[in-house]
Amino acid sequence: MIAGLGLLVGIILGLMLQPEVPLWLEPYLPIAVVAALDAVFGALRAFLDGIFDDKVFVISFISNVLIAALIVYLGDKLGVGGQLSTGVIVVLGIRIFSNVAAIRRHIFHA
């Protein structure tokens, strides 16, 4: 309940404040958001499995975001930023799909 409210508050804040994305953050923010989404779906699945642990959630969230940003940064430095970003997105996308599939099985038993 509170978790849902938190999501709502975040979206409303973003809509109301409409902050400019700082230039140095611009390449990392999209990947970081996708990585965070992966952590969120993983946490939801763990919660439905009954093994949710908030400590694990926080750590996985932060480490997902940081690693995603680090990979993009490294890719930029190596000159393969675009490809590496695509790779990260693909991997995270696959994980999100598998997590969502598990969540679906829990909720709809299908």
């Binding site: 999501l7 975040g10 923010l29 970081a32 694990v56």
Partner: protein
């Protein structure tokens, strides 16, 4: 990293757990999740907005971008050509105005010169003031005409008699019936004052030559006083007369 265990042998089903979490205000875990979800929501919305704002061309293919760039280059070249053309037009117009202004200035000067010569404009300048007294009534057209011719010969540019008649090319002199002189149909009576604009010294000298104007007047009992002035005002003007018979000859 979230856990990946997939075993389903829990006493409570996932659905029940979700329902419970949604209906109860939650635990510490829910609060943590709320904060992180707020962060995700915030970042996601910000990213979406910044993408919508400025990335019109982000998804375009390379060929499209090249084509776009080419067309923009062409457009800017066209605009530059147009600018150059307009600037040329402007400079030519400016030249036109300048030459027209010069022509107008010249025409105005010419009109001034001709106006002074034809007597249509008042004139001012150095010259002489001649006063002719005629106690005996002997001064006639001969003497006056003599004087006018002398003045013209000496380069007088504008001549006026008695402040009433401007002497020009068409001026005529006639003896008045009861004394006096009729100039251009106007009867003038002595004393006559003649104002002439020109080099005052030359004009004065021209009148003083032996057998000239002064001598002629004195011969018939008159009296001449010539004053050289630095400013003589010839204020009388004539209406320009339209030539009735004479027409200008067209010159190539």
């Amino acid at each position: 990293m979230p856990e990946m265990s997939d075993d389903m042998d829990e006493p409570q089903t996932g659905r029940q757990r979700l329902l419970a979490a949604l209906t109860r205000p939650g635990s510490r875990g829910q609060l943590t999740a709320a904060i992180l979800l707020a962060v995700v929501g915030f970042a996601g919305v910000v990213q979406v907005q910044s993408t919508e704002e400025n990335d019109v061309y982000a998804g375009a293919r390379q060929e499209d971008l090249i084509q776009l760039l080419n067309s923009l280059g062409l457009a800017s070249q066209r605009a530059e050509n147009e600018i150059a053309e307009l600037e040329q037009t402007r400079s030519s117009l400016r030249n036109n105005t300048d030459s027209r202004r010069a022509a107008l200035e010249q025409a105005r000067q010419e009109a001034n010169v001709l106006g002074i010569l034809a007597g249509t404009l008042p004139a001012v300048g150095p010259g002489v003031l001649i006063t002719v007294e005629d106690p005996t009534g002997g001064v006639g057209t001969n003497q006056l005409l003599d004087g006018l011719e002398e003045l013209r010969d000496a380069g007088a540019e504008a001549i006026e008699i008695n402040d009433t008649v401007r002497v020009v090319a068409q001026t005529s002199l006639q003896q008045g019936d009861d004394g006096g002189i009729v100039v251009d149909g106007q009867l003038l009576t002595p004393p006559y004052t003649i104002e002439a604009i020109g080099d005052s010294h030359t004009l004065a000298d021209s009148l003083d030559i032996p057998g000239g104007f002064t001598d002629g007047i004195e011969e018939v009992g008159g009296n001449v006083v010539v004053k050289e002035l630095t400013t003589v005002e010839v204020t009388t003007t004539r209406d320009p007369t339209q030539p009735e018979y004479a027409e200008p000859v067209e010159t190539e």
